[in-house]
């Protein structure tokens, strides 16, 4: 549903249409900002990542391909990579909470697509330790070493949980 709604907007943006760019921003900015805020924890840095992501969407709309995921997934990819760059540049070491951020008003949770429902099911099937390690890395932007500090298990174990968890996830999603 969300993809069918957002894809025509992206096509128009690729054609330089500003109205549709504004509409895409209105529909997706809260989700994109939430991803950045979850990773970066700081309002200013999350705003910077969000701005940069939308500027990249404006310039790169024509490079979108369905094989990169839904429009929203593609935009999440853009903002996550930007957030990781910002973390690296500012040498941010993350302390993670997996609770919702309190900063800023929350908006309605969008109805998940069939792909996201399937992903949630597959993540639910992972071992608890694998799921926790992957969640820390994904939502918090933690490195292997930072996950070690958070979970208190050896580095080799953490790497193994993440690697095997990702392999299991791929098997489940490929079915």
């Amino acid at each position: 549903m969300e993809h069918e709604e957002l894809f025509p907007l992206l096509c128009a943006i690729a054609d330089g249409k500003r109205d549709e760019f504004a509409e895409l921003y209105a529909k997706t900015s809260a989700q994109i900002y939430a991803v950045a805020l979850k990773m970066l924890k700081h309002k200013e840095l999350a705003e910077e990542a969000t701005q940069d992501a939308f500027i990249k969407v404006w310039h790169g709309a024509s490079s979108y391909q369905r094989s990169k995921g839904t429009v929203l997934t593609w935009m999440v990819s853009i903002v996550r990579y930007r957030a990781l760059d910002i973390m690296r540049y500012h040498n941010i070491r993350n302390e993670v909470t997996l609770e919702p951020e309190k900063d800023g008003p929350t908006t309605t949770i969008p109805v998940p697509s069939a792909e996201r429902k399937r992903l949630a099911e597959c993540i639910e099937e992972l071992d608890d330790q694998q799921r926790q390690a992957i969640h820390l890395a994904y939502y918090g932007g933690l490195s292997h070493h930072e996950v070690v500090q958070h979970l208190g298990s050896p580095l080799g174990t953490i790497k193994s949980w993440i690697r095997r968890g990702l392999q299991s996830l791929q098997r489940c999603l490929s079915l």
Partner: protein, 233 residues
Amino acid sequence: MNYHTESLRNALAAEYVLGTLRGGARRRYQQLIMTNQSIAETTWLWEQYLNGMGGDITPVAPGENVWESIQEKLGFVNKNASVSEFKAPSKHQSRFWRGPALLAFAASLLIAVVWTSLSPSLAPPVTHIAVVNDQKTNPLWLIEISDQQLRVRATDQLVALADKDFELWIVPANGNSPISLGVLPKNGELSVPAPDSLKSVPINVLAVSLEPLGGSPTGQPTEVLYTSNLINV
């Protein structure tokens, strides 16, 4: 390392998208995405797999300043204009651009005037510009492109390296390998005939790589340092 093994491609792509591939390994992988189609496609697959998780986070509305800043950075509004004139978009304000359209037009005229003033009076009109910034957003090179000419000016912010060159690349939007546009000047200005690839290839971004003197020995970027969007003017 043998990147042709599917399991290794998947392992690297997964950790890249997850964000646990760090440091030099991450930079090398970014170059591989640019130069190897199967690695790019595996990465996209993992973006599909994992980044649906981002859609499950409870949305948080950003401040209005974010939208205002985006408009300013894209040149849609005049930075010096009162931002109070421009409301943040909502699902019910699809026509809000009409107000700022005149200002955006004025801003585009300003850009055109500035860039025209940098050009020789008989030079063909500039169609695209790009500014290559470092990580601190200091501008290092100003690039302007006309139908006939590619002109690059190094700024005084650039720290030249005696034993290295910087090379400019097109990163095609279709995922194909980067195409060299040549070695960048370390100071002053360089003008060359506009390569055909600038017109014939759909461009995602421009990239600058660090290379041995004389440019890439392999025909592909050695270490990508910066990227820059090409802007229509």
